[in-house]
Structure formats: C-alpha cells, structure tokens
C-alpha cells in the first residue's frame, strides 16, 4: 500500500514583513516518488512541522483511497474511459449514436415509453465516469438499439464485446 515514508521541510532563515516564513515540504512515498509542496508562507505562530504532518496524513488517506479503487478495478478489468468506449464504436457508429441522442426526443416514430427508457439510458451514460468491463447489460442494450437503427452490425458488436472481455 502506498504511503509516505519520509517528510522533511526547509524554512527560510529570514521572515517576511508580517512574521511569516517561506517553507518547502518534501514528502517521499514508499516507491521513492518525491512530492514537493511550496514554497508556501507559514504564518507567524504556526508550526511548519504540524502542517507537514497533517499533509502527510492527508496524502496517506488519498493514497489509500486510490489503492482501493485500483484493487477494485484489477479484480475485473480496468474500465474504459468514455472516450475509449467511443473509440470502439468507430466514427460512423459514434456519429449515429450522437445523432440519436440529439434527435430521439423529437422523433414521432418512437413511442413515449421507449423514449422514457432511452432518455434515462442516455442520462446514465452521461453520468457514468467510465464504462465497466465486461460491459453492463444496459450498454449492450444501447448497442442493440443502434443495431436496430442500422448504425452498427452484429459483427461490430461482437468485436466490442470481445474487446471488453479481453
């Protein structure tokens, strides 16, 4: 687990006109990576050692969170970013998807209950931070919808699913 193993700071010998002092912190994690913070002004009366210790604790907490997220992703497969998912579609299908999103509400040929499902589905796509792998059923459903509109072939869908499962 990533964590800070060394924290040091250097402070200017001289003070500023308000009594504060420039301080630079140097934190090193267990992988040898160096994180520098500053120069920042440490107010008169504040202990830079305390500030440094608090920052090291915050960094450890952030590292723990990041490690937990990475562990979760590694148990499945690293999720695709939405951009990576769009790259899988190919430009023609990508454009068809964007056109569908932009026009389905005004399409009189789509029943209202279908529009309800599509609206929420597209909203969930927009809300999503990434595309899980293997693909969720709702993503497969969206690909199926594009297929019914002639924007994608089954062969393309099979290739995308295979890439997601790889």
């Amino acid at each position: 687990m990533t964590h800070i193993v060394e924290s040091t700071f250097t402070a200017d010998a001289h003070v500023q006109s308000d009594g504060s002092r420039y301080v630079t912190e140097r934190h090193v994690d267990n992988l040898g990576r160096v994180l520098t913070f500053g120069p920042y002004l440490c107010a008169d009366g504040m202990n830079p050692a305390t500030v440094m210790a608090q920052r090291a604790a915050r960094l450890d907490a952030e590292f723990a969170l990041r490690d937990a997220e990475a562990a979760q992703a590694a148990q499945g497969r690293t999720p695709w970013s939405k951009l990576e998912f769009r790259d899988q579609l190919g430009s023609a299908t990508e454009q068809a998807l964007d056109k569908l999103i932009a026009t389905f509400e005004a399409n009189p040929g789509i029943p209202d209950n279908t529009k309800d499902v599509m609206r929420t589905g597209f909203a969930r796509y927009r809300e999503a931070l990434y595309i899980e792998r293997p693909l969720r059923s709702e993503v497969l459903a969206m690909l199926g919808l594009l297929k019914t509109l002639g924007a994608i072939t089954q062969a393309q869908i099979d290739a995308i699913v295979a890439a997601a499962n790889a």
């Binding site: 003070v15 630079t24 994180l35 920042y40 500030v51 920052r55 915050r58 951009l83 969930r124 809300e127």
Partner: protein, 439 residues
C-alpha cells in the same frame, strides 16, 4: 419568449403559467422552455427533490431565476433553504444542452454518502453562467465532486460563476475541470469540508482558468492545483483571499512546461497587499518582503526557486515585468539580483535576463535581447550589482549582481519595455528586484 414558474408547494394545474398552477418539478419547466429567451422562475423556498440521477437538458438559450413569489418575484437566492436535488439521498445532477444558460440564485444539492457529482456544461457546446448560486456537494463520498464539462478532453464548454458558493462534503472532493472556467466573487463554503486539492483533475480544454475576488480561505493549507490533471492549463488567481499556508501547485507530471502553471496576483492569506507568485514544474517566483533592494519602491523582491527540472537549455523563466520608459537614448536595462548564503557569483549560464524592446521606428515589432552566455561559449560571472549593502534582510554572506541586456539598446519610441529573468541552475534560489532599472 415565455415565462414558466416552478414551485414545489403549488397545488394547481402544474402547467407553469402562474404560481398557483406552477410546475412542481424543475424538469417540466426545462422541457417546456423551448424558445430562445424563455425564463424559468423558481420560488426560492422550493425543495425540488429528485427521484433519480437527473440530467436537465436545456432546449434553448434559457434563464433560470430564483425569486420570492410573495415579494413581486424579487430575485432571491435559494441558499440552503431550497434546492434542486435532494437533502437525504444521493442523486447526481447535470445541466446539459448546447446553449447559453443563465442561472441566478439556484441551489444544486446532492447529499448522503454515495458517489455522485454536480455536472455543469455537460454537453459539448454548453455555455452556462451561474450567479449567486449554491453548488452543494453534500455527499460525503470521496468521489463526489463538481464536474465542469463533459469529461472529454475534446469538447467545448464554458462555465462562468459570479458570487456563487461552492460547498464540498469531503476533503478528497474537488473540481474536475473540462471546460473554460471564470469565477468572479463567491467562496468555498466553510459549512462543508475543505478540499485538500481544489482542482484535482483537469483537461487541456480548460485553459485558461481565472479566479477573481474569490474567498478561498477555507481551503487552509490545501493545494490549489493538483498533479492529476493533463494539459498545459494556466490557472490565475487574482485578488483572492487564500488559505493559511496554502500551496499553489503540486508537483507536476510531466515535470516540464507541458504541465499546469499557476499565477498568484495580489492574493494573500491575510492583510498583505501586492503579493505575487508564479509556479510551474521548473520553479517558482514568490514575493519576498524579508529580503529586498532597499531603494526599490517595490518593497519586496522576487524569490526565485528552481526545481531539479531547470537547466541552461530549459531554464525556469519568470513572467515579464513591463515598465514605462520615457526616453529614446541608448540604455542598458538591468535587474538587480542577490545570492544569499554564498559569495560566489552566478554565471551567465545560471542566471540571465531577457528584454523586449521596440528599436525600429514606426514599427510595433519588439526585439529580444539577452545577456545569456553563447550556446558554445564559456560561462562568465554576471556583473557585480549595487552591492550587498544595498539589500535589506540578507544574511551576512551574500553576493550582489545584475543581469542586463548584454549590450545597450536604443528604444525607438517612448513606451513599455519588458524584462524577465531566466534561471538555468537547478535547485537554486535567486532574489531579484522586480523593478528593472535603466540608470
């Protein structure tokens, strides 16, 4: 151009035509506002609770204004008493639509403990202005945040925030930036949690970012710009109140000028005025009032500190200092510098100056001058400056020098000249007087 009314307490026809018949959901009003110039009025005490993650897609250039229906529709902010969102359940909120949308006094609120976000400008081409609004990321989930833009590095988006409040639910939260951002006035609410890093993720399409007159003091010793972003984004903080012991810029990856940079313009954590700062992956400039050229009206020096990434060929370069010069005779402009803690002179491959001077009559074209050593020449010590006795605050061991234009220059007209310093020495500290001299 129509006006639609929204009030969570309405019990009438739910068609938005009056306060009695106001819509009880914000989504209904957004769907109805299809013409450019349409206005949505929201009664400020409305608690418009969502039932799911919701994207409000505006269908045209629309304004949304929070008003007091009981005071002749006077603009009145929702504050913390009203909202669009939820107070006990986590539902994400996105404002979308490739249009110009203005919101006044609206509170967007997410709550509880699940990861959800408030997403503004959630469509490619969205241009959204929020004034006196309250962005309330009340969820305590570490992944909660305010997202500006679509999350794609290739889309267009703009968010302008005037006198609005940004509130976070956990120290790990912050702003994910994928749109142009201008913030004027407002604050980070002390009623929430202070982000340890304000901008924890950003994309190249965010450049540049401006914060003017914003109270960021609640961030305390947090970091303004983190290291997890991508792109050479410039962040500007102008006349803001900053946190005690704040850090401007985290260690950047990559460790070069293709990463973020931060300008601090007349900002401080207390009452100090006129403090300046500039930070990038190769070094920083900060105002130092403890060591300064005594006779300078600046009342401070620029403390230049380079990282290990600075070199002769890729030096740390300070911003330009522009000054007015009223003569057209030959001059040798210079910047006085000080090396504290050592009597060894800096060489002209360690510290040098660059100047932009218009020397051609009737032409706006400026010429660049420098006293940098030649690329294949040997280094030489920079000239002695005004003397260590001309500096206040230095230790007893110091070297005073100057960096000039290399040769005299003759301005062709009265006007601005510009000078800056380049520091090619890694892990070095140079004090410079930010008031160039010509006499």
């Amino acid at each position: 151009m129509a006006t639609y009314k929204v009030w969570s307490g309405a019990t009438g026809a739910n068609n938005g035509t009056s306060w009695t018949d106001a819509y009880t959901s914000f989504a209904s009003a957004v769907s109805a506002a299809t013409a450019s110039g349409d206005i949505i009025l929201v009664h400020y005490t409305s608690q418009l609770n969502l039932a799911a993650d919701t994207t409000f897609t505006f269908l045209n250039n629309v304004s949304v204004i929070s008003v007091d229906k009981d005071a002749s529709d006077a603009p009145t902010a929702m504050g913390t008493g009203g909202w669009i969102g939820h107070s006990t359940t986590t539902y994400g909120i996105a404002l979308a639509g490739a249009y110009r949308v203005y919101l006044y006094g609206i509170t967007l609120r997410i709550a509880a403990s699940s990861t959800r976000t408030i997403n503004l400008a959630a469509t490619d081409g969205a241009d959204q202005t929020i004034e006196n609004c309250y962005l309330w990321v009340g969820t305590t989930a570490s992944g909660g945040s305010v997202i500006l833009g679509t999350g794609s590095s290739s889309s267009n988006g703009s968010v302008r925030s005037k006198n609005s409040t940004w509130r976070f639910g956990a120290a790990s939260q912050g702003i994910t930036l994928g749109a142009r951002l201008l913030v004027e006035g407002g604050s980070i609410s002390s009623a929430g949690s202070a982000p340890s890093t304000l901008f924890n993720s950003f994309y190249p399409n965010a450049a540049p970012v401006w914060f003017r007159g914003v109270d960021l003091s609640f961030l305390g010793s947090g970091t303004l710009v983190g290291s997890a972003g991508s792109g050479a984004v410039t962040f500007n903080f102008d006349r803001c109140l900053l946190g005690t012991s704040y850090v401007a810029l985290a260690t950047q990856t990559p460790a070069n000028l293709s990463a973020a940079e931060v300008y601090i313009l007349d900002c401080s954590t207390g009452s100090a005025q006129g403090l300046y700062g500039y930070h990038n992956a190769q070094g920083s400039v900060v105002s130092d009032t403890g060591i300064k050229l005594t006779a300078s009206a600046a009342g401070q020096s620029w403390k230049i500190t380079t990282t290990a990434n600075a070199s002769f060929y890729t030096p740390f370069v300070t911003p330009w200092i522009s000054f007015y010069h009223s003569g057209t005779s030959a001059i040798t402009p210079r910047i006085e510098i000080l090396r504290d803690g050592s009597t060894t002179a800096y060489n002209n491959d360690e510290v040098w100056a660059e100047w932009l001077v218009k020397v051609t009559a009737s032409s706006p074209l400026a010429t660049l001058y420098s006293d940098r050593r030649g690329l294949t020449s040997s280094a030489a010590a920079q000239d002695t400056g005004a003397g260590t006795g001309s500096w206040t605050g230095a230790s007893g061991t110091a070297w005073s020098g100057k960096c000039d234009s290399g040769a005299s220059v003759t301005p062709a007209s009265v006007g601005d000249l510009s000078g800056r310093l380049c520091v090619g020495a890694a892990n070095a500290t140079v004090y410079a007087s930010p008031e160039p001299l010509v006499a």
